[in-house]
Amino acid sequence: MYSLSRRSFLASLAMFAVATTSPTWAADKLKVVTTFTILGDMVRNVGGEHIALTTLVGPDGDAHVYEPTPADARALAQAGLVIVNGLGFEGWIDRLVKASGYKGRVAVASDGIAPLKAQDDHGHSHSKTHAEKGKDHHHGELDPHAWQDLANGRLYVANIARALAAADPAHADDYRGRAEAYDRELVALDRDIRRRLDAIPADRRRIVTSHDAFRYFGRAYGVRFRSPVGLSTESEPSAKQIAALIRQLKKEKTRVLFVENITDPRLVQQLAREAGAVIGGTLFSDSLSGPTGPAPTYLDMFRHNVSEIAKAFTS
């Protein structure tokens, strides 16, 4: 439809714009391109001063529906390594890589995690999204939001360290060392989150968010998440889904709903009004905030989300 045509228009624009300007990066650093801020933050933590990092979708941006720019294609063409989330999250990346002429390796950070399947009760909205986006998009089949579980985050970090070491063997030891230090932080935070959430009775840990981004979080930390529109921010709900969700919220007496930083809050507000629930605050799901926001890094995002959740249940 409309946004699709705009996207393909930009993709073709990108093809023409490759290699029009001179490179601006320092020559001796490994040029790494990642797709979105959460992955970018992990890569920065592992790569440190040895890499020059470009993140395509910026803070508070939505990678589900991103429209690549010519600058993105240029960054890719000059990259030494491209790291993506995988699991069909960045439906536009394959075409962009092809358009840019990048010939190197595309490392998939989510390699080796146990993926969740997309839920069946959102099938309708998915088939629509799927048909809109064509063959190269698999968002309807696997849930890509794997980074919302810190155990998966550790696998991401290990994959990133391996990819960096392979692309830049001279600093391999350094990447490994930094990844280990970062990994220890993840483990500590994971323990901390479990302690905080365990204080909330298990049957009360039910939450509604704007789109289905927290199922890995829910699986890892025993929180039941629901959402009106499914995995992709792009799909549109049916009246039946909304009605079923409202009935369920009333029955289970769910009292806490959250909006996300990248989505229209109105649908969740509607749900809250009808089910007699409150809006607990803003959770960060698919994108970090800017440096001055509440969630500038991957670890900060977890701290922010968990403290919002804990606050909503204890007040």
């Binding site: 946004s3 049916s238 009246a239």
Partner: protein
Amino acid sequence: MDPYAALIQPFVEFGFMRRALVACLALSLGCGPVGVLLVLRRMSLVGDALSHAVLPGAAIGFMIAGLSLVVMSVGGFLAGLAVAVLSGLVARVTPQREDASFAAFYLISLAFGVLIVSTRGSNVDLMHVLFGTILAVDDASLLLVVSIATLTMMVMAVIGRGLIVECFDPGFLRAVGGPGAILHLAFLVLVVMNLVAGFHALGTLMAVGMMMLPAAAARFWAGQVAPLAATSSAIAFAAGYGGLLLSYHASLPSGPAIILVAGGAYIVSVSAGPRGSLLTRFLPRRHLEA
């Protein structure tokens, strides 16, 4: 399933269904006459053009105030208005045709919008965030749609006659001293207002569909402009009601469901309406022949 549970109970049980229905009613009342006049003036594709034209305004609103729906809507309205008024003026004072003029200005506007969105770096799909779904209509959106429907009907009551004369015989209107260009611009403002209200509450697809499909279907049922507008509004509201029920019972996304019901009404009208449909052309009724 008994008729009450099938047809009425969803609206009794759920507030969001009632809101959606009221929004459909208000929208069909405003869009009925506007859509019919667009069809009469051969401007049926203007709605589509304007749905692209609002992008730069929404983008500038986003740059100024972040994800504020109010600022982004106002920006979108102003951008749509600028495109409509400029296109209308150029079509009036130069030999350029109205549709070519609209095409030129909306493309400039769209390209400008894409430029702003892209250089802004960070990217949320602005149109997607700004223009919601009918299932999420909140008090502010509802108030906006209802106010605009009311205003549209009042303005139409005042300028409608002049507009119709201008459609069919602009020379006559000029000859009797009618303010053709001003009427036309006032009408374009109404079009933009109705569309932006519709976009804001219901999404771009729905707003244009609710305006054009019933208006296009109405010409197979009525001949005079007032009955055309009434028929168009009635079809639009019926499509809204039917589409919501379809979305509710068959678990289909509500926007496309409503538009497809309106599309079904159009197909039925083309095939079997009493005025000039396929049926009347190829299967003339016997008793008229005798």
